[in-house]
């Protein structure tokens, strides 16, 4: 039995340090205000405090910590992207993820499973090969594997797909992992608040005050806060925030849905994605199959669930795993994905002095949590875009310096 477990067990609950402090009043002013208490916001607060010594920080969360897309994604972490910019960025993220449990003193269940992106057409095979070649170029462990290899690793998968769309090969990405998404947010939150950052839940920003092209502070449902630096890290709510500062972004918000089955004894140890069939699946350590498909076809700012989604997903799922027909879907839910035209994020400084944006995370936000927090903290602390995020600036949409990650999205768009 691990020693830590003994230590934890012998402690009374009240002796265990709180993850999050009790509610307390807002201060009049902070050096930095972070809007959004999800993984990204918490990570940014954490690195601001830890690496830049900036601790007079407030994270404002309209709901509860990690209640947005942090708690709604399917927890996959990978770096097998298509562009140089994407690969470098997500590679950093994977490396940070690998050490988070130790850093937090909290097990985030970072579990490396191997990630198969199946190709059912020769054009998909071309894209897989492209990703593999770009990945290898940057030292990322990705390769195109043939059907025989897939069969060996996932013997229970019907590579014939019920006679239609047979699997032709796959992009195999060994570092592909899953992690306990909530724990990532909690770990960052605890680490941040231990260093003096304040986290305020149920605190909604209603207005951003500016003067002479500079940020002055934010109005909240609990009063006004003065701050010269405000960061928006709110995923699907980004349009609401950017509207407050009259900023235009090309973001469109689409619901992305997911569901889980009733728990069964774990049998699936890899992560399987099929773009053609609109399926991605992994099995959690609770035994649930965690599944997603593609973003909803129409723009919508809502987290309602639809029947079409779960009907379509289960139908396609059976093409790969016929035996899952005997399982039951236990719960479905949705998140709001803020999607950019080039399927890459928007990060860094903006035209408004003191206003920083971390948005456009679409369906790939969770896996970027550590690196986005780290690079945004750097950017805010130095008021200078971190090198890794320079390609992701908002201005690229005017300058036509797009990044082009559509081919690497697991999720259909």
């Amino acid at each position: 039995m691990p020693l830590r477990l003994l230590k934890y067990a012998w402690k009374k609950p009240e002796e265990e340090p709180r993850f999050f402090p009790d509610e307390k009043p807002l201060k009049k002013a902070y050096d930095v205000v972070i809007i959004g208490g999800g993984g990204h916001g918490m990570a940014c607060a954490y690195y601001l405090a830890k690496e830049h010594g900036i601790t007079n920080v407030a994270v404002l969360e309209q709901g509860y910590i990690g209640g947005g897309n942090t708690g709604r994604n399917t927890t996959i972490v990978r770096s097998n992207y298509l562009t140089a910019e994407g690969v470098k960025f997500y590679d950093q993220s994977v490396k940070l993820f690998e050490d988070l449990s130790d850093e937090f003193d909290l097990n985030i269940f970072y579990s490396t499973r191997g990630h198969f992106t199946l190709a059912h057409t020769d054009s998909a095979m071309r894209t897989m090969r492209w990703r593999a070649e770009v990945n290898k170029h940057y030292g990322i462990d990705s390769e195109v594997v043939d059907v025989e290899t897939i069969k060996k690793d996932i013997p229970y998968m019907d590579v014939q797909c019920n006679g239609q769309h047979p699997v032709m090969g796959a992009l195999y990405h060994a570092p592909g992992s899953v992690a306990r998404h909530d724990a990532v947010a909690w770990g960052y939150a605890r680490g941040a608040q231990m260093r003096g950052v304040e986290i305020h839940q149920k605190t909604q920003v209603t207005e951003i005050k500016t003067q002479d092209g500079k940020v002055k502070g934010v109005q909240t449902n609990r009063g006004f806060i003065e701050a010269s630096k405000v960061i928006s890290m709110v995923a699907g709510s980004t349009p609401r925030i950017t509207k407050m500062v009259d900023m235009q972004t090309p973001i469109e918000v689409f619901p992305l849905q997911a569901c889980v089955t009733e728990p069964v004894k774990p049998f699936m140890n890899t992560i399987v994605v099929s773009g053609s069939l609109h399926v991605y699946v992994s099995q959690s350590s609770r035994g649930e199959l965690v599944m997603g498909a593609s973003v909803d076809p129409a723009e919508l700012h809502s987290t309602r669930s639809t029947l079409d989604f779960v009907e379509g997903l289960t139908d396609q799922m059976m093409d790969l795993f016929p035996f899952t027909s005997r399982l039951k879907i236990m719960r479905q839910w949705a998140g709001m994905s803020d999607i950019t035209p080039d399927f890459a994020p928007i990060m860094g400084k903006t035209d408004l002095e003191g206003f920083y944006l971390d948005a456009g995370w679409g369906t790939w936000g969770f896996k970027a949590t550590p690196v986005s927090g780290k690079t945004m903290a750097y950017t805010v602390a130095n008021d200078r875009d971190h090198d890794l995020i320079k390609p992701f600036s908002l201005s690229r949409f005017e300058e036509f310096a797009l990044v082009g990650e559509k081919g690497a999205a697991s999720v259909g768009h």
């Binding site: 477990l5 067990a9 054009s123 728990p263 009907e311 039951k328 036509f400 082009g404």
Partner: protein, 964 residues
């Protein structure tokens, strides 16, 4: 069947049919109509399963379709619910998640070390040292999960049905039945959905012994059975409410998708367990579970019972037990009550303790006694049954999913609907109405209102029939220093676990759920969420409303994948010439929903088949089926305007009877589609799209027509028309045999369009040159597609014409340097990069993407180039997507490559940095295995650079009509 009672008035059993089934290797008997849990209980089997974490023995808790501790495994299914699945002959099941057997479960070891596994223990350990984590994880994964999957199980699919009704009533208890009948009496179509095989709900188990209700029961049941407007869907539950009264109703036969005009939610309430030490011992159960056992299955819940109650229902249950011949040792009332039931209990000589507090349940393998506190004294009673009647929580999922809200009624100590969406009505106990006559009356008013709403009539206010006394205990939770007081039976969570979570700062209802996992098991909190909220509210000193609740998402119960998926329908589109392709041994490939010949098998290796098709086109003639192209007809006053706005080239100045390349980009200037446009008349165009983007293009164009307010009609004729491309030096001669049209270059020049008759059928002919030879694209009504095709093949026999497939075409167009959108372009490629600046007419006032292209024209950083190998070993031929490397950095990638039989070498296209674009530049290509090969940038087209072959007689036509 030692605990079986004599026949009960409303039992569900068919006692004539005795069923033998196997459980954990032993054979038991039951009656038809028994569910597994009831049949086992009748046989004295009280350990039905093991708990998820500690592997404690568990029995019946609710007998209401959410007893997650009585889940079974058969050889065909995991997670079979014992409290809802009927027994069948030859059924053989065992408990899920045991190690060894149910009786001797080695998993109980976990309970011994349970002290070391408090809430969230897995967050606190196992991660350091890092290399050990996979070992721990593997152990955790072994312990996790419930049933076992057999990956050899075959696919199972159940057909779906649709059903439309005016009023859908969910729940056929007393108020639901009354609502359905009342609504139907208004003349609307009603659909009554109930979880159980027999309607009646609590009327038949809570009020089975009420003689006064006999007539009412008969009226309701008979009325429903005989009413032509009511359709009863039994053994069915609403898995999800999906907006606009769209219900997913799951039945054993499959999913029914119900579209209603109004919905009555009469789902009732879930009985909530009390929390005290050992409240999970088999024999401790909800009072309603005991009543269901007796009324439905004629099974004695126990021999000697104690009833723990905080409401009148507990007294009624005690009386029911006595009537069933069970010795009722005592009623432990948590307070003091004054109702008819109390008097009746006293009259029946039942012992009542007031203001009682639970201390613990005792027993080894099942309940043997209880300890409680009364007036400061601890007392012990021996019993094998403890019935808990301490409160209720709404079965509110449909209301939550419809966007309704609940708030806590302090008087009733229950969450009640406080805000109902339009067209959703609630009645009965979910609405706080408890008196049985009132429940029926409440159902009637909800049924009436729903019928009015469905008929677009004004809906009057309802009478408030809600109870005035609490039916729930505000905090049915008793601490014990030794713990084992379970709040969530699915997840094995004790009171201390929740307190631990709260103490660590997870003191928000959602955070508490996520950290402790309360409500995340298969019952989704049906018996645990309410107590969880009460515990959190008390710990924080907040009200229940301030504490809030978690979201009740679909599914209401876990719903089979086979039902949600339904039958497998994969649309497949076949072209008019499909039978020909089959006869000619085509190897088919998928192109979106279509099947297209990749090449035709001749018995030779694939490569040689393809090369022979290529040769045939180059030397004589070939025919390819291009019916899968999207085909849109555009007509109306603004047709030319629309075409100008959609495509990069000017279309409005195209002559009637001409054709033009049609390139489409998106707002950011990215190439998204291409095809050929022709002009039939001033206000009538016809344009093709690529196979895969036809639906998207059509949808986008329709949207734009509306946005721009243009007077134009766009017709998608993709499936109505067949199309084929006859190409090769002899194509004119072949076509001439079949048409009277003057095919001479003067009469029918390159890129012209003509309407004519071929083989007797009306067709549209376009002189095209995609593959680089003299060629004609022929568009014809699908009905005649095959005949025209066969006529051409016959006419071409003398010229040894061959059909050719997609692979040959790919090679032919590559030789001409023509791009394939989506292969030679990616998600960001603009026309300048694709070396197609000639197809962009920036002088037009507007087209989609023009502002972007105007800027992009000046900032090109990469471009498509042709390259070739002078000599290359077979194993060194790169693959498409291999990278071009320059100074160690990525400088491009190969988009197309192939061996040209005509040129006798490998040729290809690559998207490279502009620095590498000059002809003669050496490209370093990295193979998949890491080796480098060299290629050379060359001019395109590779084949017939002047384009003389596609315009054999008069080359000047090229400059006249083709490109700007």
């Amino acid at each position: 069947m030692k605990l079986r009672l004599s026949p009960q008035p409303y039992e569900w059993l068919d006692r004539k049919q005795i069923i033998e089934f196997e459980f954990e290797g032993e054979v038991y008997e039951g009656f038809k109509g028994d569910v597994i849990s009831a049949a086992l209980w009748a046989n004295g089997v009280k350990t039905l399963g093991r708990s998820f974490k500690y592997h404690r023995r568990r029995g019946l808790l609710s007998l209401a379709n959410h007893d997650i501790n009585a889940l079974f495994q058969s050889k065909d299914y995991p997670n079979i619910r014992g409290d809802v699945t009927p027994i069948e002959d030859y059924m053989s099941v065992r408990a899920v998640n045991t190690f060894g057997s149910l009786k001797h479960d080695k998993g109980t070891l976990v309970e011994w070390i349970g002290k070391f596994l408090p809430v969230g223990f897995y967050y606190k350990a196992f991660y350091s040292p890092k290399f050990l984590f996979p070992k721990w994880e593997s152990l955790i994964r072994t312990m996790a999960g419930l049933g076992t999957v057999d990956t050899d199980w075959t696919e199972e699919r159940k057909p779906k049905r649709y059903l439309h009704c005016d009023v859908a009533v969910i729940g056929a208890g007393p108020s639901g039945m009354a609502a359905a009948l009342k609504a139907a009496e208004q003349g609307v179509d009603v659909c009554l959905i109930d979880e159980n095989p027999v309607i009646g709900g609590s009327l038949d188990y809570q009020f089975a012994n009420e003689p006064d209700l006999g007539a009412e029961r008969k009226r309701l049941k008979k009325g429903i059975a005989s009413h032509p407007k009511i359709q009863v869907i039994s053994s069915a539950y609403v898995a999800g409410y999906y907006g606009d009264h769209w219900l997913a109703v799951n039945t054993p036969q499959g999913l029914i998708k119900v579209s209603a005009q109004a919905v009555v939610v009469a789902t009732g309430v879930f009985e909530q367990p009390a929390v005290f030490r050992n409240n999970d011992l088999p024999g401790v159960m909800n009072a309603s579970a005991a009543q269901r056992l007796i009324s439905r299955y004629a099974v004695k819940p126990c021999n000697t019972a104690v009833v723990l109650t905080a409401n009148a229902e507990g007294y009624r249950a005690a009386l029911d037990m006595k009537k069933a011949g069970i010795e009722v040792k005592a009623i432990l009332d948590t307070g003091e009550r004054h109702c008819r039931c109390v008097q009746e209990a006293e009259k029946n000589g039942l012992v009542i303790y007031h203001n009682a507090e639970m201390v613990e349940a005792t027993g080894k393998q099942s309940l043997q006694g209880i300890v409680f506190r009364e007036s400061g004294h601890e007392r012990a009673l021996e019993c094998d049954g403890l019935l808990m009647s301490v409160g209720w929580a709404p079965a509110g999922a449909p209301i939550y999913q419809a966007g309704g809200k609940f708030s806590y009624d302090e008087r009733l100590e229950q969450l009640l609907p406080s805000q109902l969406p339009d067209g959703v009505f609630a009645c009965g106990r979910i609405n706080g109405v408890f008196d049985i006559e009132h429940r029926i009356q409440d159902g009637e008013q909800a049924g009436l209102n729903a019928a009015l709403y469905a008929s677009d009539e004004p809906v009057p206010d309802s009478m408030d029939l809600r109870a005035t006394q609490a039916h729930s205990h505000p905090y049915p939770i008793w601490e014990h220093e030794k713990g084992k007081n379970f709040v969530d039976f699915d997840e094995d969570l004790q009171l201390k676990d929740l307190k631990g979570a709260i103490a660590q700062g997870f003191d928000n209802i959602e955070l508490m759920k996520r950290f402790s996992t309360i409500g995340m098991g298969p019952s989704q909190g049906k018996h645990s969420n309410m107590n969880g909220i009460r515990i959190l509210a008390k710990a924080r000193g907040q009200s229940i409303d301030e504490t809030g609740s978690t979201t009740a998402r679909p599914m209401f119960h876990p719903t089979p994948v086979s039902h949600l998926a339904g039958m497998r329908f994969r649309p497949e589109r076949l072209t008019a010439m499909h039978t020909f392709h089959q006869r000619y041994q085509a190897k088919f490939m998928e192109a979106g929903p279509w099947l297209r010949p990749e090449y035709y098998r001749t018995g030779l290796p694939r490569k040689m088949c393809i090369e022979s098709e290529v040769n045939s086109v180059r030397t004589s003639a070939g025919l390819i089926d291009v019916s899968t192209l999207g085909k849109l007809e555009v007509f109306g006053k603004d047709a030319a305007e629309l075409m100008d706005r959609l495509y990069t080239m000017r279309m409005s100045n195209m002559k009637v009877g001409a054709s033009r390349y049609a390139l489409m980009v998106d707002d950011s200037g990215v190439v998204i589609d291409d095809g050929v446009a022709i002009r039939y008349s001033e206000e009538h165009f016809y344009v093709t799209t690529t196979t895969t983007s036809s639906d998207n293009a059509y949808r986008m164009i329709q949207k734009k027509v509306i946005e721009w307010g243009l007077s134009v009609t766009v017709l998608n004729r993709t499936g109505q028309l067949a199309a084929m491309n006859l190409a090769g030096p002899n194509s004119r001669k072949i076509l001439a045999k079949l048409t009277d049209l003057d095919l001479s270059s003067e009469a029918f020049p390159y890129l012209a369009m003509r309407q004519a008759t071929v083989a007797g059928y009306p067709v549209t002919l376009i002189r095209v040159g995609f593959v680089g030879e003299l060629g004609y694209e022929i568009h014809v009504d699908s009905a005649y597609g095959l005949r025209v095709w066969e006529a051409i093949m016959k006419a071409g026999e003398a010229f040894t014409i061959k059909p050719f497939g997609v692979e040959a075409q790919r090679l032919l167009r590559l030789e001409k340097g023509h791009i394939i959108v989506g292969q030679d372009t990616d998600g960001l490629t603009n026309p300048y990069e694709a070396d197609m600046g000639w197809a962009v007419h920036l002088k037009k006032p507007y087209f989609i993407g023009k502002p972007s292209l105007a800027k992009l024209k000046e900032m090109q950083s990469r471009t498509l180039v042709g390259f070739e190998f002078l000599s290359v070993q077979a194993e060194d031929v790169p693959l498409e997507s291999n990278l071009v490397i320059e100074d160690g950095e990525m400088a491009g990638r190969i988009t197309s490559i192939g061996y040209s039989p005509v040129l006798g070498k490998h040729i290809g296209l690559a998207m490279v940095d502009v620095a590498l674009k000059e002809v003669g530049t050496s490209l370093q290509i990295r193979l998949s295995n890491g080796r480098m090969v060299k290629a050379k940038v060359v001019e395109t087209p590779f084949y017939d650079p002047q384009g003389l072959l596609q315009i054999p007689q008069d080359p000047e036509e090229l400059s006249q009509e083709s490109v700007a």
